[in-house]
Symmetry: C2
């Protein structure tokens, strides 16, 4: 049975799930969600796919899971990859997945959206500046942690890396300058060099150019 | 060995860890962090307690864990409580813990902070309004999920409830009106009625009145 993943290319949260599936070697296929025309907020989607109105959603036979971190955990449980080798690593991976959801991807996602995917005259400039300030603090934490480390936890790629990199490969400008953070830049290159790695726009259907952007 | 929890009363994220510890029956004691005088951002704290500059931090013998959701998971693993009865419940609990960290507590925490704990003339009013708009969408998701349910997952209190309620008992105004959301109100009353439940200001040291607020 091929795993299905509801997703779209612009979503870094969906990318975390798609990248975990792809790198694990599990058989999966994308189901495109037309987010920018409101599909994820439609009554049909809310009632039958995800009450949270979000991607990603994974369906494996009778099992449906939502939230990128949950799908990543399922991939680890099913494939034996990316989940850590012992309890200490498992807690440490969960720590960085939660931190990412709380402090990094959550604010990267909305900031990139506001700066690139809504009309310029509707951008809440003060809110964007506020979010960018919070993000600088988050990048600083990640940069410090990666000093002397190739990976966030242990000595190989785990779900901690796959979570934290969710929005960091996208080309749209939103205030993240990879070259300004040498440890983050080196760590992202390690992820890019992982066999089977793909850029979000090569891994999932949907691209800003579809909407003339 | 008594578990130590670095925390302070105003932190809803610390409350999630403290409440899980308290309701589990594990022996624990708080270690007060003087957040409002910068302790969590001090070099000493960053270097020896938590590089993320945050509470809560839990120490149990040689083991140190940070992030409320990780500590909650540890309490579940150690006590056998709040972690779900099977894989399906475990994934569903993690789903709501992640959603809470991404969409609910993260934005409740910063919004309450900006509206109550910094000088009125320094408040970023547009950013606050933006965050409050996002929070209304989050309350709506939770309100809908709790329709016909006493608890977020299954038929008893779990870490999903203990996570999502993190900021919802605080008295400081920040745009959450409990009575406007009848299902959330009923669910919070279920939590309050749980044997051993305590309000955050009764469970952890530190209160706004310490700072003359």
């Amino acid at each position: 049975m091929t795993i299905k993943l509801y997703c779209f290319g612009e979503s870094g949260n969906a990318y975390k799930a798609a990248l975990a599936l792809e790198l694990s070697g599990l058989a999966w296929e994308p189901v495109y969600v037309d987010f920018f025309n409101g599909e994820a907020r439609s009554e049909a989607y809310l009632n039958t796919v995800n009450e949270m109105g979000e991607v990603p959603v994974m369906v494996d036979g009778d099992l449906k899971l939502t939230q990128s971190g949950v799908i990543q955990q399922y991939v680890a449980d099913k494939s034996g990859k990316f989940g850590g080798r012992n309890d200490q690593e498992r807690y440490e991976i969960l720590r960085w997945v939660l931190w990412d959801n709380h402090k990094l991807s959550s604010q990267n996602g909305i900031t990139r959206f506001l700066l690139n995917f809504i009309p310029e005259d509707k951008r809440p400039t003060e809110a964007i500046a506020f979010l960018q300030g919070r993000l600088q603090a988050a990048y600083k934490v990640l940069e410090g942690h990666l000093e002397g480390r190739d990976w966030i936890v242990g000595d190989a790629i785990t779900n901690a890396d796959i979570s934290c990199c969710g929005y960091l490969f996208y080309p749209e400008p939103y205030g993240f300058d990879r070259k300004a953070w040498p440890n983050i830049d080196r760590w992202l290159a390690n992820i890019e060099a992982t066999p089977g790695w793909k850029h979000p726009y090569d891994l999932m259907p949907g691209h800003p150019s579809d909407r003339g952007l």
